[in-house]
């Protein structure tokens, strides 16, 4: 799957969990989900589960713990596809 398509889908998944929509507009691969987008850690779990559903993949606890940035999410998905 193309990285661009993955990025678009990830952004769509992140949308409901981000406090300030403006932060998401300016987001890049280096954007930290917890600190820059101010998503709380439990919502990060929701995001991981939504990604599992959307891309039909399974993310282990250890892999989920590694996720910090949007780039990490994309690498995780692309790596499993």
């Amino acid at each position: 799957m193309e990285e661009k398509v993955v990025l678009e889908k990830v952004m769509e998944i992140l949308k409901p969990y981000v406090r300030e929509p403006e932060d998401l507009k300016n987001a890049t691969k280096e954007t930290d989900i917890l600190n820059d987008l101010k998503v709380n850690s439990s919502r990060l779990v929701d995001i991981i589960l939504a990604i599992e559903d959307e891309f039909d993949i399974e993310v282990s606890d250890d892999e989920a713990d590694e996720v910090q940035t949007i780039g990490d999410v994309i690498s995780l998905i692309v790596g499993k596809k």
Binding site: N40, S41, S42, V45, D46, I48, L49, D61, A64, D65
Partner: protein, 285 residues
């Protein structure tokens, strides 16, 4: 049989010390370091030793300085004795959270000082935020002797995992533990279902058997969050025992269990507001 392994994580030679707990089946292995087990044991004994001095002092403040009273306290204590003392099923207390001293009010509502001293495992462990209660030596001492395991909210996931594992270990030993599923005091002044933390599900997941005492409490004039309930307020107190289960696995199970608990607390809140609405001149007797 549930097998809980104590792992000496500090040593390069990892040692596993099996601890056998009388529970029926094992869903997941709980790993705790021997250091944590020793720490908790020492903390519990010191808490028990100083309890006859510390607890009456705090109760005196609640009753005669704050002048707060728990509504229907006799009934609550009678029911709690029946429920909590009957067996050692891991029991987690989950409550809504509006004031900094909620956990103390919960303990005070459920039993008397002499009862806790005789059945000290029923005096529950807590996870207060370190930034709130670890501020000065006195506060540290009281927190430590109050069976608290401080957590750094913004700390690394490894730290959170250690605290959760410690709680699971304590629960499996028949110790009561209290947690606030919202993760902090509710900024909205009501149960914030959308803000539920899945830590509560994470603690319960893997325990072979458990039950949850859901608590809803609120001072009669409590609007939003505050450090303490208002002086002279009677505290409405309701609780319900549930055993939330999930057919899901992993994080999905944690999420489902956590949501079930917070929904139960929200239902209890709805009952509270319905009662208030139906009886605007509620006497709180």
């Amino acid at each position: 049989m549930s097998q809980i392994n104590a792992v000496n994580m500090d040593s390069t030679n990892v040692r596993r010390v099996p601890l056998i707990v009388g529970l029926n089946s094992c869903s997941e292995e709980i790993l705790v370091s021997r250091k944590i087990i020793i720490k908790c044991t020492i903390q519990k004994w010191l808490s028990w030793l100083f309890f006859p001095i510390l607890a009456p002092t705090i109760i005196f403040i609640l009753k005669y300085v704050q002048k707060n009273r728990i509504q229907d306290q006799k009934t609550i204590r009678m029911l709690f004795k029946r429920i909590a003392a009957e067996n050692k099923t891991p029991t987690l207390i989950c409550s809504n959270h509006l004031t900094k001293l909620d956990s103390i009010y919960i303990q005070h509502a459920f039993a008397s000082v002499p009862f806790y001293w005789r059945h000290f495992r029923l005096f529950s462990w807590n996870i207060p935020a370190k930034e709130n209660f670890w501020t000065n030596p006195l506060s540290r001492l009281v927190t430590y002797l109050g069976k608290c395991i401080p957590i750094v909210r913004t700390g690394p996931s490894e730290h959170h995992k250690n605290v959760m594992d410690t709680f699971r270990y304590l629960l499996s030993r028949g110790e009561l533990c209290t947690i606030f599923p919202e993760g902090g005091r509710s900024r909205t002044g009501t149960v914030d279902v959308d803000n539920v933390r899945y830590g509560v599900g994470s603690i319960l997941r893997g325990l072979p058997d458990y039950r949850v005492i859901c608590v809803y409490m609120r001072g009669e004039n409590q609007q939003g969050i505050s450090d303490l309930p208002r002086k002279r307020d009677k505290i409405y107190f309701d609780f319900k025992v549930i055993t939330p289960q999930s057919f899901e696995k992993g994080r999905r199970a944690e999420r489902e269990i956590s949501r079930r608990i917070i929904q139960t607390i929200q239902e209890m809140e709805n009952t509270y507001f319905t009662l208030r609405k139906n009886d605007s001149s509620h006497s709180w007797e």
